[in-house]
């Protein structure tokens, strides 16, 4: 499973980072970075939660 972020939409709310810090990181420059675009087995539920809870709906998953 792969994750995509629409960086034009992202406003660094960092909710995704709280849920899945192995994948999402808002750095000191206040921008979001994807540490990997692979959602590993066991991370699917947290990734789906990140998609749902992003206020801007900037995150999507694809198989």
């Amino acid at each position: 499973m792969k994750v995509r972020v629409d960086f034009e939409l992202c406003e660094s709310n960092a909710i995704c980072m709280q849920l899945l810090p192995e994948v999402f990181e808002v750095r000191d420059d206040d921008f979001l970075y994807l540490l990997t675009d692979e959602i590993a087995p066991g991370q699917e539920a947290a990734a789906a939660e990140a998609v749902r809870r992003c206020p801007l709906q900037a995150i999507s998953l694809e198989d």
Binding site: E8, N13, D30, E49, P55, Q57
Partner: protein, 412 residues
């Protein structure tokens, strides 16, 4: 099927009139019936549709292609057919995105966190002027401090900040039964526009470290591929909207909090002894009684939902206030509980998707600091419900006046 929205109940068809005294007084019983009986509600009186279930409202807010903001966000404007003014809340992507990107880095949680001392100073300034023996939680406190913060960010001089708020109040007011802005409201809007025009002119001549000066420096990619600066009208519109949205909403959230906690003193006590719960309390107030109750959208295509067709061109209310009380999404949705499972469903009090509240981090910071200060100021208090008054406004709901008496004084 009777009526266009579904079967009538034994007590007759639901009537949802967002411009009625009954609605301003208490919309929640009507919302429940709409969710249960007519999840796609149709108003013959005003010719609009309304969605109230959490699943439908959340999906509607996300689907900007179907539910367009480009015709305005209140009923009068969407129905008028007139072009909406160039405001970011009244645009669809991609134009919306370009406009929002001009200011959105100012409002990220991290950027806003740096404002904590400013927010605390304004909260303490106004609470310090309140008499524990009798004060108005809205008029003397929650109406006063948020506008100081957002308008200072914009660059409004101190002596004009409260005036900006008073104009907006008048602009949003509605007379029962009338969807249109009042004559006084129109005059207030014109005064606001003229005020910001003059401020933009001053900042063009002499820039400062404020948002209006930053907007003057900014340029924006236009539809024809050109990058151009914002004109005075665009900047004044931005300032009017940000100043308004940033003042009106927290005012209502704090007023709602005071009234609600007066009814739930046990939860106020719990909060006082465990301040770590304040952020969750803010979220629960927002869910239970959203200051921004609904947004109106323009339906760009025929939509079939729950057996009802919403024709293209219809005005559609997306009712956040009803969705956040949907028991399909939240356990005991009508119960106010600061300890509830916060992630059972998405709290859409700040909206959802591309138009979700730009100022959410600021609203959260202001609300947390205000609640924290109120917990110190009034460990125990009474609200005189007989003298509470609600606002009668479009889109937003809350109290205009909340008389409070502190019954056990805290540390000052």
């Amino acid at each position: 099927m009777t009526g266009r929205g579904g079967p009538a109940s034994a007590s007759g068809r639901v009537e949802f009139d967002p411009f009625s005294e009954e609605f301003f007084a208490d919309p929640y019983p009507v919302y429940r019936r709409m969710r249960d009986e007519e999840p796609v509600y149709y108003s013959e009186k005003y010719d609009f549709y309304a969605l109230t279930r959490h699943e439908d409202v959340a999906a509607g807010l996300k689907d900007f292609a179907t539910y367009s903001s480009a015709h305005g966000v209140d009923l009068a404007m969407v129905r008028s057919g007139r072009p909406a003014p160039p405001l970011v809340i009244m645009m669809d992507p991609p134009e919306h995105r370009r406009m929002r990107q001009l200011v959105n880095r100012v409002f990220t949680p991290r950027a806003i966190a740096a404002l904590e001392p400013v927010v605390r100073a304004q909260v303490e300034r106004f609470l310090g002027g309140c008499d524990p023996a009798g004060f108005d939680a809205v008029q003397d406190f929650s109406a006063l401090f948020p506008v100081e913060i957002i308008s200072a960010m914009l660059g409004v001089p101190p002596e004009s900040r409260q005036q900006v708020r008073l104009w907006l109040d008048v602009f949003l007011e509605r007379e029962p039964g009338r969807i249109e802005v009042t004559r006084r409201g129109m005059e207030a809007l014109i005064s606001t526009g003229a005020f910001y025009h003059e401020l933009v002119r001053e900042r063009r001549a002499e820039p400062r470290d404020d948002m209006i000066s930053a907007l003057i420096r900014a340029d924006m990619l236009r539809e024809d591929g050109e990058r151009t600066e914002l004109d005075d009208m665009e900047i004044a519109g931005f300032a009017t909207m940000l100043g308004g949205a940033g003042a009106e909403t927290v005012t209502k959230l704090i007023g709602n909090a005071v009234v609600t906690f007066a009814d739930h003193p046990d939860q106020w006590d719990a909060l006082r002894t465990d301040r770590g719960k304040v952020p969750a309390a803010v979220e629960e107030i927002l869910r239970h009684q959203a200051p921004s109750q609904y947004n109106v959208r323009y339906c760009t295509r025929d939509v079939d939902l729950h057996g009802v067709r919403i024709p293209a061109g219809s005005a559609v209310f997306l009712i956040i206030g009803a969705a956040n009380r949907d028991e399909r999404a939240f356990t005991d949705a009508d119960v106010f509980d600061i300890d509830r499972n916060a992630v059972e469903s998405q709290n859409i009090g700040f909206g959802y998707g591309v138009h979700s509240c730009l100022g959410a981090a600021l609203a959260r910071l202001e609300s947390r600091i205000a609640l924290d200060a109120l917990l110190d100021f009034m460990p125990r208090f009474e609200v005189d419900r007989s003298r509470c008054r609600r606002v009668a406004m479009t889109n937003v709901a809350g109290w205009a006046s909340v008389p409070v008496r502190v019954t056990e004084k805290g540390r000052s």
